[in-house]
């Protein structure tokens, strides 16, 4: 029974599973549909309403689902209740069974025990029965045994009967159980059928409800859409009607306008027509006239045509001639061209040759320069050597002279000798000429000073201090105040940028302003050929007012005349002083134009207008072109002569040697010489006499020797008269 129950229990669950699946599928489908509706792009405005409706339908679905699940659960419970009841009954039965089994066992055991006891009793009695010998008692005993056995058997039988009764009961119970089982199965089947029916019905109902909900929802939606559609339609209709009305109105207006225009145009047309007709008449008259003139003209033109024809012929002839001429000229031109090319070639060759020559000559010149440099060096060396030699010689002579002089003074004359000034003697080698002392401070140095000073300190203070510190500086700042110079330079720097090379400008860009202007000025000065302080001065003067410049020009003339540096300085200082005085005058007189900038522009007031800078520069360059050129030449030459020597002091130097001997001394010496000469003559004659005596003495000796020789010779012996004797004879007479 329970097994079949279990099998049955599985059935509906599978069914229900199936249904669940079906429901799930349907729900999915509905959801999809709803989503599709929601996503429908045609009616985004109604999404809210749809959402509300959605929730309604979904609620309905949810409700029906819940109801169905509940129904299903209840049904399942109802069906499985039978199984559970059966289980419960079975378990109770089992409990009872166990209990009864236990009871039965107990009873059996008891029975067995009691049976065994009795059996024991009986067997015991058998033993006592064996002892009995009286048959009656034995019989009695046996009878007793038999009864006891019977009672035991009865008891057993009773038990057996009981059990059989139980068994029968059990059989009955089995039958009952079978019946009950069949009933249960029937009940279960009935219930299942009922459940299936109910479920079917419920599901159908729910489905219907769902569908109804959906239909309602759809209908609502449709109604809404329809309403909207109608609204739109009416709106449109109104619009159209309005439009139509407007259009009619406009059409009428236009028609009126057209009519008006038409009338106007007709009037105009008539007027124009009349006018044009009169015009036509006039024009016809004119046409007639024109025709007449035309006729006349035609005749004239015909005549002209004839004439021109003639001319044309003539022209053709001349044309031919000209053509011929052209060809001829062409030939000439070609010839000339050829000649030209030839010439050009020739000249090119010549040119190349010349350039080569030039190169060669330049080379030669360079060689020559090198040579000359070498020679100059050697010459200088030689000169120095010669100089030194001469100097040495001179010094030696001088020394000897001086010694002699001392000797003469001290020994001959017995006078105190005083040495002359001998400072120049210390000089060794050729005289040095110090350039620095001669040439002025270089322009760049000045620049540096000016630019560096200008910023921080007051101009006059600087001037004073500078004057104390350095003579050079005073030079320039006394001539023209530093501030003036600075302003001039600044002006120059600003205005004459064209003189600076582009490259330099680029390079200068990262530098500071002062540096920049410094470098720029440097470049400008090199371009203008300004080298020395003097040049700067000159330049500065050009930047002063015109009148001043005139004055300056005169001074410059003087300057040019003056060869000596000192003179130049003097004049320039004078000029500067003048300028300063003037400046002071001007500033003192009050510059009405710029009273607030009085102090700062004190000096720069007199500078020319920036636009005239170019003019001033040009004037400067024009004026200084020549000198600069000369200077350039000189410098070139100087390069050639290596170093310039001034021979002016040489003679002086050498003269110093001679000057050591004054005229008095000479006269002394002359007198001394005379006396000494006389003394020497005296001595000479004495020496001559000594010499004569000496010679005579020698002659005597020689003669003596000869005589001795002759005397002592063998020949004498041989001779009849020996010379010796003779001699002796001769001698003897004398003595």
């Amino acid at each position: 029974m329970s097994s079949s129950g279990e099998e049955e229990e599985v059935g509906p669950s599978v069914d229900s599973n199936d249904k669940e699946e079906r429901i799930a599928a349907r729900r999915l489908r509905i959801n999809k549909r709803i989503e599709a509706l929601k996503r429908d792009p045609n009616d985004p405005g109604d999404s809210k309403e749809i959402k509300e409706e959605l929730s309604k339908s979904r609620k309905q679905i949810e409700e029906s689902r819940l109801r169905l699940t509940k129904l299903r659960k209840d049904g399942f419970e109802l069906v499985s209740n039978i199984r559970v009841a059966g289980d419960a009954r079975e378990s109770i039965r089992r409990g009872d069974e166990e209990e009864s089994k236990r009871l039965r066992r107990e009873r059996l055991e008891q029975e067995a025990k009691s049976g065994a006891e009795r059996f024991e009793e009986i067997t015991k009695k058998w033993e006592s029965a064996l002892q009995k010998e009286v048959p009656q008692s034995l019989h009695e005993m046996l009878m007793q045994q038999k009864t006891s056995c019977d009672s035991m058997i009865d008891e057993k039988n009773k038990l057996i009967n009981d059990f059989q009764l139980d068994l029968k009961n059990k059989d009955d119970l089995y039958v009952k159980d079978l019946k009950k089982m069949a009933e249960d199965v029937d009940l279960m089947i009935e219930r299942m059928n009922e459940q299936i029916k109910n479920l079917k019905k419920a599901q159908r109902e729910e489905l219907e409800q769902d569908e109804r909900a959906f239909v309602a929802e759809r209908n609502e939606l449709l109604e809404q859409q329809k309403k909207k559609w109608d609204e739109r339609m009416t709106y449109r209709r109104d619009k159209e009607i309005e439009y139509m009305k407007n259009r009619e109105k406009r059409v009428e207006e236009y028609e009126q306008m057209l009519q008006h225009l038409r009338v106007q145009d007709a009037e105009e047309y008539n007027m124009v027509k009349i006018r044009l007709e009169t015009d036509v008449q006039i024009l016809e008259q004119q046409l007639q006239q024109m025709r007449a003139t035309y006729q006349l003209n035609q005749e004239k033109l015909e005549y002209n045509f004839q004439v021109l024809k003639k001319r044309d012929e003539e022209n053709a002839i001349t044309k031919a001639q000209q053509k011929r001429k052209i060809t001829r000229m062409q030939d000439v031109l070609n010839g000339l061209r050829i000649k030209l090319t030839k010439q050009e070639k020739q000249y090119r060759d010549e040119n190349s040759q010349l350039t080569e020559d030039y190169k060669r000559i330049a080379e030669q010149f360079r060689d020559l320069q090198k040579k000359s440099k070498h020679f100059m060096a050697t010459d200088a060396k030689k000169f120095a050597d010669v100089w030194c030699m001469n100097e040495e010689e001179c010094k030696e002579i001088l020394n000897s002279i001086l010694q002699c002089d001392t000797v003469v003074h001290e020994q001959q004359l017995g006078l105190q000798w005083e040495s002359p000034d001998l400072g120049f003697v210390e000089n060794v080698g050729p005289l040095r000429i110090h350039e620095e002392t001669k040439s002025g401070v270089s322009a760049t140095q000045v620049l540096h000073e000016v630019m560096s000073q200008a910023g921080s300190q007051a101009i006059e203070e600087v001037g004073e201090e500078g004057g104390n510190d350095d003579k050079q500086r005073t030079n320039i700042f006394t001539k023209i105040s530093a501030h003036t110079v600075k302003s001039v330079l600044e002006l120059l720097c600003d205005e004459s940028g064209f003189l600076v090379e582009k490259k330099l400008e680029k390079l200068l860009q990262p530098l500071e302003k002062d540096e920049q202007s410094l470098m720029k000025l440097d470049a400008i000065f090199t371009a203008l050929g300004v080298e020395t302080e003097e040049d700067i001065h000159k330049l500065t003067t050009y930047f002063m007012h015109l009148i001043e410049r005139m004055e300056r020009a005169a001074e410059e003339n003087k300057k040019d005349e003056g060869t000596e540096k000192d003179e130049l300085e003097k004049t320039s200082t004078e000029g500067v002083e003048d300028v300063d005085a003037e400046i002071q005058e001007l500033t003192g007189g009050g510059v009405d134009d710029e009273p607030p900038r009085e102090k700062t522009t004190k000096d720069s007031v007199h500078l020319i207008h920036p636009n005239e800078v170019l003019k001033a520069l040009r004037a400067f360059v024009d004026d200084h072109k020549k000198p600069t050129k000369e200077k350039g030449h000189k410098s070139q030459f100087r390069i050639a002569t290596l170093e310039y020597r001034d021979p002016s002091e040489d003679s002086e130097y050498w003269a110093k040697y001679t000057n050591t001997h004054s005229g008095v001394k000479e006269r002394v010496w002359d007198g001394l010489v005379e006396g000494l000469e006389k003394y020497s003559e005296c001595l000479q004659s004495r020496s001559n006499l000594i010499n004569e005596t000496d010679a005579l003495r020698q002659q005597n000796a020689e003669l003596r020797m000869l005589l001795h020789q002759y005397v002592n010779s063998k020949v004498n012996t041989e001779l009849e008269i020996p010379p010796t004797r003779v001699l002796q004879l001769e001698m003897n007479p004398q003595y």
């Binding site: 097994s3 489908r29 999809k32 599709a36 429908d40 378990s91």
Partner: protein, 522 residues
């Protein structure tokens, strides 16, 4: 209309040669008939009855008809049509159907449509020998099934009618097989033929050998064999060893050693599962490695037999479900089963419903459960576990994380079990269904369970009928269950939606299409 006459003509000609080789005198007639036929045809067309095909063909098709009769018929019977005459194809098919038993091989040479026609017409009584391996058509097997059994639920057989036929056929044969009486030849033949198609064998009864049959059941099979073969005291049942060895595809085996519907003819002898039966069965099951489901109910399997069975199927590679419900297994048998599920099997379902397992056996099973990682469904309904066993099982569920369904109905459990179970319900999140019906948990146990359930979010089913645990807690638990069910349902729907997104895309335009015209219409 233009095509059919041509083919007819062709068929007709071939037919004519076939049929009229014996009837030579009529050949001369056909020639003349052809001539007249043309005139007939023209005549017919003049009349405007162009529907009628050429009578010449019909004459040929029907050799018995007289020429003059034909003419008369054509002239006078407006209803006459050649369509009444069966086509040669149909005739052939009919012939094939008639002689299918003798020449069945021709079936495979036919065109598909003809094959279908033949299959529609052949008798469902044809011997299996002919049809088993030849016919795969479901329609035929459906006819066979319907002809043989009143109730046919093909869903139980995986929607396969052929399989259903073979399985039911084999089942019937085995169910009516009386050992040592019935001739096994028929069975063997059927087995050989149905070996490829049988996946499941559900034997609901096995007849014992007939010894005297004095009070035997009123089965015709059993009664007609009145021999005295049962000289053995043990009356063994049908031996499955040869059967299982012949069925390589068998996956599901369900047996009942007993007689069905014995009613008042009850006899103990009918329900005897002998030791030999058990041994044979165990061996054959152990040998069949593909078996997945093995059921043995209502067979009076006691402890010893269970031990024999388990010892054989220990470490069976394929067995997923074991059903030993409605037997008399005691604690020792339960211990054997515990050993079996303690990592000696891959069981997923274990059904021990309606046995006599008590506390000790339950403890053995519980011990196995703590170590097992495969069993998901456990049914211990209608046992005598008592509180000891119930507590043991519940404790094991604290450690186990695979069990999803457990049935502890009618197990004489009481409040202590409920206390532990509430703990289980709180901690275990894999269990989905608990059946506690017919246990006297009492109102206190009900309250404890309710407290436990309030922490739980997974359990969807909990049967508390006839547990006397109080209406209030039962109601609360039902509410929680309902909540859990809803959550689970939503999770399932989400899963389905996530798995099948392309369907939506297809459905959208349809819906739009359906709704658009209505809106515009309005």
């Amino acid at each position: 209309m233009a095509e059919p006459p041509l083919t007819d003509l062709k068929d007709g000609n071939s037919d004519a040669t076939e049929t009229k080789t014996s009837k030579s005198p009529e050949i001369s007639k056909t020639g003349s008939r052809n001539g007249s036929a043309r005139s007939q045809k023209s005549h017919g067309s003049k009349k405007g009855r162009d529907f009628i095909p050429s009578p010449a063909v019909s004459a040929k098709d029907n050799p018995a008809a007289d020429w003059r009769n034909m003419r008369r018929i054509i002239a006078e019977d407006p209803e006459w049509s050649l369509a009444t005459v069966p086509l040669l194809v149909e005739l052939c098919i009919k012939h094939i159907v008639d002689n299918f038993e003798n020449n069945s091989k021709i079936l495979n040479d036919l065109l598909q449509k003809h094959q279908n026609k033949v299959l529609e017409k052949i008798s469902s009584d044809l011997p299996l020998k002919v049809t088993a391996n030849l016919v795969d058509d479901e329609g035929f097997w459906k006819r066979c099934c319907n002809a043989r059994w009143e109730i046919c639920d093909v869903l139980d057989f995986g929607g396969n009618w052929k399989r259903m036929f073979f399985e039911k056929n084999l089942q019937e044969i085995i169910e009516h097989f009386v050992p040592e009486t019935t001739d096994p030849i028929h069975l063997n033949e059927t087995l050989a033929l149905s070996a490829n198609y049988v996946k499941r064998l559900e034997i609901r009864q096995l007849l014992p050998p007939v010894r005297e049959a004095p009070k035997g059941p009123d089965f015709d099979d059993a009664s007609d064999a009145g021999s005295d073969t049962g000289d053995e005291p043990e009356c063994d049942h049908f031996n499955f060893t040869p059967v299982l060895s012949l069925l390589p595809n068998l996956e599901h085996l369900s047996l009942t050693y007993g007689v069905r519907d014995c009613g008042m003819n009850f006899e103990w002898q009918l329900f005897q599962f002998t030791a030999r039966d058990c041994l044979q069965l165990a061996q054959s099951v152990a040998a069949h490695k593909h078996l997945q489901v093995f059921k043995l109910h209502r067979s009076k399997v006691d402890d010893d037999k269970v031990r024999v069975l388990i010892s054989h199927i220990l470490d069976h590679p394929g067995l997923i479900e074991l059903d030993l419900s409605h037997n008399v297994i005691g604690d020792r048998g339960a211990r054997a089963i515990g050993k079996f599920i303690n990592n000696h099997s891959r069981l997923v379902r274990l059904n021990l419903c309606d046995n006599q397992i008590r506390g000790a056996g339950a403890q053995a099973i519980a011990h196995a459960l703590t170590k097992n990682t495969t069993v998901e469904h456990l049914n211990l309904r209608l046992n005598r576990l008592g509180d000891d066993g119930g507590q043991a099982i519940c404790r094991s569920m604290l450690k186990n994380s695979t069990l999803r369904e457990i049935n502890l109905g009618s197990n004489d459990m009481a409040e202590p079990t409920a206390a532990i179970l509430s703990q289980v319900v709180m901690q275990n999140s894999t269990i989905l269904s608990v059946d506690l019906s017919c246990n006297r948990l009492g109102p206190d146990g009900g309250k404890q369970l309710q407290e436990g359930m309030e922490e739980n979010t997974t359990i969807t089913t909990m049967d508390l009928r006839l547990t006397e645990c109080g209406q209030e807690s039962e109601y609360c638990i039902n509410q929680i269950l309902h909540r859990n069910q809803e959550a689970e349902r939503e999770a399932k729907i989400k899963k389905i939606e996530a798995e099948a997104p392309p369907q939506k895309k297809i459905a959208e335009p349809q819906a739009a299409h359906r709704y658009k015209p209505r809106i515009t219409h309005a």
